[in-house]
Symmetry: C2
Subunit: 334 residues, 2 copies
């Protein structure tokens, strides 16, 4: 293997957006949900799924890193909303409400954070219905939790990719990296809120049409790292051709950066090959680029190719990203 | 007025558990929920209520003060669960699931916090189904968010007390103040988990029997401060005889401390006088003391009496605790 692909592999494997996920299983292992029958999905999913008649209540939480809260409180407030809304969209659901916990020691900073949250509420049309404020903290933080709803038959899990599935990536290429969050591709702040809402709705349509076996939103580990989490949860492997991943022409010169970026609107799906074009078309209508970038297999290895080179990014027989083995797959042996 | 009651009034009015609530309305004012039709209740309630067919989804969040996280991480983890479970019980609902956001810089402390959460899950039988972990923070924090469910006709709001209602307080007197949390009356940690669950269930039974107009769990502002929040939300006043408030015999000498304490299992209700005994009986069966301690009126003043003295604690024509005017009462004029 030549150096170029190895640089990509090294960058992804050592990226904090990936390595920070390694603690998750320690929490999950201590707090198992197996004995709670009303919990249909939890560990390793973007949101938990709780029984609710014909539907599931989707339930997730995300916090914003301290460094962002301090460097750009407005963006921190906005991102706290964005990342949560994306978690519900990833599951094929529609978000209904959020609650927040805000910690602050500085009124001006807090006001900026609040205005970022307010903008998030306005753009995604999901209300913040309550929460808790710590007015006298030594630190600044914003955590948001979200609920949504999805019909039982429509839910999209991370843990159910199947051998032979196409890997489809869809992402909004019209964005920028803000000064204070260099690894976040911001696509939603400059757009008409109606288009932003239609992008989230596209993910729900993919779910309702039962087009995919598995899906996730492209979060802190970046597009390929997020695929890695899906494969780990699904106990699968894959081959991916990096040359096929959509990339804005302005970002081709810094392709590794692009692969590591949080996507404002980006999803990775595993779907039967006959459905791939339909998934791409649904997102194309809301301004997102899409492509089939690879194939799922049962090798437990995520194998990459680029410019004719080949290499292995993760081998889940020995590597972990989150270390989670979701409920749906826990009894699978390999 | 003599000095004894004035000391009580001064203590409650200056208690951080009360004064810290004053920031809430600043957040609420910036993030109104009026335009979201599926939000049935939010501002000023212990949990928000989201439309869900014949039911409401109850949704709340609470964070634990940094000082407790640092002085006693186990208790912080346990309390993060406790305060959330109480929020759902206060609304007359049953808790179904929680998510957490944990921030940590120290593995040992984090492990203790997790074990406290684990104990909370075991005692209240509500699973933690997901969340987010910040493994590389400069501070330590634990925030939990909770969902629950309640039939639409059964919900208990904070904002619907009526003139002529009895004020009933029920609380578990069998407890202690832990060393690191002097203002928390801990009642649930030493008891059989089954009894702890039956205590929360008692609050749901009060709701199902439609016994009360309004209710809240006794949280950081203490029993009288919590009543104050209910009256403020309801745009009501009341007379309360402090001598009638249940108090453990061991705590009579430090009655002010008792009035300020967070109650591990304590609720204040406003109910038609003919239902008061039934409410007290329901909680008596699960080991809680109860009493009619006063009457709701439309004066906007919370008037206290003790040992023959009388005084005004809050006058909501000029004082605020949270400053929230819930949706249900927002259009009321006074």
């Amino acid at each position: 293997m030549d150096m170029a692909l190895q640089a990509v592999i090294d960058a992804i494997r050592s990226f904090p957006g990936v390595t920070r996920k390694g603690k998750i299983h320690e929490v999950v292992d201590l707090l198992p949900t197996d004995s709670f029958k009303h919990v249909a999905a939890a560990e390793g999913e973007d949101a938990a799924a709780i029984e609710d008649g014909e539907n599931y209540i989707l339930f997730a939480a995300d916090g914003i890193m301290e460094s962002l809260v301090e460097s750009d409180p407005y963006m921190a407030g906005y991102f706290a909303v964005l990342v949560n809304v994306n978690d519900i969209a990833a599951m094929g659901g529609r978000a209904t409400a959020m609650v927040d916990v805000m910690s602050m020691s500085d009124e001006i900073l807090c006001g900026r954070m609040l205005r970022g949250m307010e903008e998030g509420v306005r753009r995604f049309k999901v209300p913040i219905v309550g929460g808790h404020t710590h007015p006298d903290c030594k630190y600044h933080a914003i955590d948001i939790s979200i609920i949504g709803t999805v019909k039982k038959g429509d839910i999209i899990l991370s843990s159910t990719a199947e051998p032979g599935d196409d890997i489809v990536m869809v992402m909004d290429l019209d964005g920028h990296y803000p000064k204070n969050i260099p690894y976040a591709w911001v696509t939603t702040l400059d757009k008409d809120p109606k288009l932003v809402q239609r992008q989230m709705e596209a993910a729900a349509v993919v779910a309702e049409e039962h087009l995919v076996h598995s899906g996730k939103d492209m979060s802190n580990p970046g597009c390929v790292g997020t695929l890695g989490m899906m494969l780990e949860s699904s106990c699968m492997g894959a081959t991916v051709d990096l040359d096929k991943i959509p990339v804005p022409s302005s970002e081709k010169d810094d392709f590794i950066h692009w692969l590591l970026a949080y996507q404002g609107c980006g999803f990775v799906y595993a779907c039967p090959p006959e459905n791939s074009q339909r998934v791409i078309d649904i997102f194309s209508k809301v301004g997102c680029a899409g492509a089939v970038v690879g194939k799922v297999d049962d090798s437990l290895q995520l194998k990459l190719s680029m410019d004719g080179e080949k290499g292995v990014l993760f081998d889940f027989s020995k590597d972990i990203i989150t270390g989670c083995r979701p409920k749906a797959r826990r009894h699978r042996t390999f």
